[in-house]
Symmetry: C2
DNA sequence: TTATAAAATGTAATCGGTTACATTTAGTAT
DNA sequence: ATACTAAATGTAACCGATTACATTTTATAA
């Protein structure tokens, strides 16, 4: 393997000059620079990146902690991170936690051992004080998830207002008995969507009937099961706001199996705007999270931190959007 | 940052001994080992992994080249890789090509610069001779995709027989006019599924009508469009074999929009068994690829190669399975 | 107890770029 | 032409763990 000293020797310059040609070309006179570059070309010299990483103690690699790669919301965000990282010559290391907190702690070691230059969390279940200590010392950004009470840089949407928007949309369509199937309620995201749902009802002088609020776990199956429960009620809802799209498909399935049709007998609004919501029949009205942009922004902020600019350590709230499809009935042809 | 020499000094031993305690504990006497471990604990010493990587020129990291993270088939495989890698203390670097060949070439440099110990390709568009040269020198495994004519270690399913199975299933259900919407035909995977479709028809004395074979690109939209074309035929098909599940949803949508119901008027079989096929209404009968296992196996083989065992450099064919749901009509209650 | 082999530990070179600092060369003004 | 500054290049220390080889300690046998 040809090394820097080989190039230096052949070019009649010192290793230092070769190094400069590669890292600070502008500090080397054009003639020598060209000479060195020619030799590099000729010998097909590839710098040993490991040596560089070691010496500079930086890796040009960042770590993304993902609770579940199979969830397309996360893979979209990952796509955004990847895109932005690639533009700046950074690599992305993947860390799948499968929702286990211990894994999160484990991956922290990568940061502490300087194996990566920074970390983007797509889930923060670890102890707040631990996370706080980490973020004081290392570049960290949180996205998709968020935490209260600690000033960690975060990129999200406003889930409360999104939940309100979704619910208000159903109210405007004339519904007054609106159910909500939530995500896992230990997640702030789920709590906030629920909060938005409540606000919308109250602001429109509608009762909040707790029986209409059921906790799901973001899976199709939980949507199906909880909806089945709701349909067995004496006064079943005429509309449902689902905390994500996959559960919405379960809800629709349950309604159909119960002999109801969507949106005629039951209006449904989902959340996330993953491809599934566009593909499903009926198309699912949903709140679009700018997933790719979230990833992009998170990476952008992380890069700033890595480069020593801490002015970006803030909370960023991106815009969400209501995407109207068939499942809510707004597009129904023979409808007022 | 406390380093190995600090530990050595405090423990009254040499750096070498500390190093051995960490890497070859059995070569150190129990008493000294315990003493050193205690100091390590006490000083909270974390070895500098970058120095180790540099010195040993190995990284415990592998690279996964993915054409598209958003495709759940790939993320399932990635999940399998991640799982197996984690078990052996390896990290997974992600490389998203977005189907650009240039990107594949670019990521090869990671291997050549020894930034990773090996590479798993989920797509091989690059020049065969280049790939061949690479695989002779470095640990490489191909999965999800495959190539003819070069002996690169590969993990796949038999797409020809899978295509045949899917088609035969429709034939057994009494269909004789069966269409096939293929994947992009520059992919061997798509060609093979088509081959299987042809074989099934021929072996059952049915004509292969080329008008019933339409090329899609694995998206819902292409399924929809191609099916719409097929339905406009004078003799439209009564069944369709789709080269993946997402296109199957487009096919079903097109049929519905055309006033047909699935499976009564049109039977559909998909491919992949991604969650979508289970969630969709109707549930899609499909060929299950053991995606997670493919990833697992690919990683396993790669690890063997990394450890210098080249006996595993073979082609591995995993079992696929027909998963019967509603879309093919086999489960139809009032059916013969 | 002494000789000898085996086990444990130490010494010091090494991996290959990077960079602070020293030195040389080129450029500019007087 | 001289003095002085800026640009270009060289020298050598350095990052921190690993490991071949040398040396010391311990165990075993005679």
């Amino acid at each position: 393997m040809v090394k820097m000293s080989d190039v230096a020797e052949k070019a009649n310059v010192s290793k230092a000059t070769v190094s400069r040609v590669l890292r600070n070309p502008e500090t080397v006179k054009k003639t020598t620079r060209d000479k060195v570059l020619a030799i590099i070309e000729q010998l097909n010299y590839q710098p040993n990146i490991l040596a560089r990483h070691f010496r500079r103690s930086e890796t040009n690699t960042i770590l993304v902690v993902i609770p579940n790669i199979l969830n397309t919301v996360f893979s979209h965000i990952l796509g955004g991170i990847e895109h932005e990282a690639g533009k700046h010559g950074y690599r992305v290391l993947l860390a799948n936690t499968n929702r286990q907190v211990e894994k999160e702690y484990e991956f922290l070691d990568h940061l502490k051992q300087r194996q990566v230059d920074g970390m983007i969390l797509l889930s923060a279940r670890m102890d707040k004080s631990v996370l706080y200590d980490v973020m004081k010392q290392y570049p960290v950004v949180l996205t998709a998830d968020y935490l209260e009470g600690i000033p960690i840089p975060t990129v999200t949407i406003d889930n409360v207002s999104s939940g309100r928007t979704a619910t208000e949309h159903l109210i405007k369509l004339g519904h007054s008995r609106i159910a909500h199937i939530t995500g896992p309620l230990h997640l702030l995201v789920s709590q906030d969507r629920l909060k938005g749902y409540r606000q919308a009802l109250l602001q429109n002088d509608l009762d909040v009937d707790n029986i209409l609020i059921q906790e799901g776990d973001f899976t199709h199956e939980s949507g199906y099961n909880q909806m089945t429960k709701l349909l067995a009620l004496e006064h079943p809802p005429t509309a449902v706001f689902s905390a994500n799209d996959e559960m919405a498909t379960g809800i629709i399935k349950a309604a159909k199996d119960h002999g109801l049709s969507v949106p005629e007998d039951l209006a449904v609004v989902g959340f996330d705007n993953v491809k599934l919501s566009a593909i499903y029949d009926p198309g699912i009205t949903t709140i679009a999270q700018p997933m790719f942009e979230m990833g992009n922004k998170a990476m952008e902020i992380l890069l700033h931190q890595i480069n020593g600019d801490d002015s970006c350590k803030k909370q960023y709230v991106l815009q969400n959007e209501l995407v109207i499809r068939e499942s809510c009935g707004a597009k129904r042809k023979n409808n007022s």
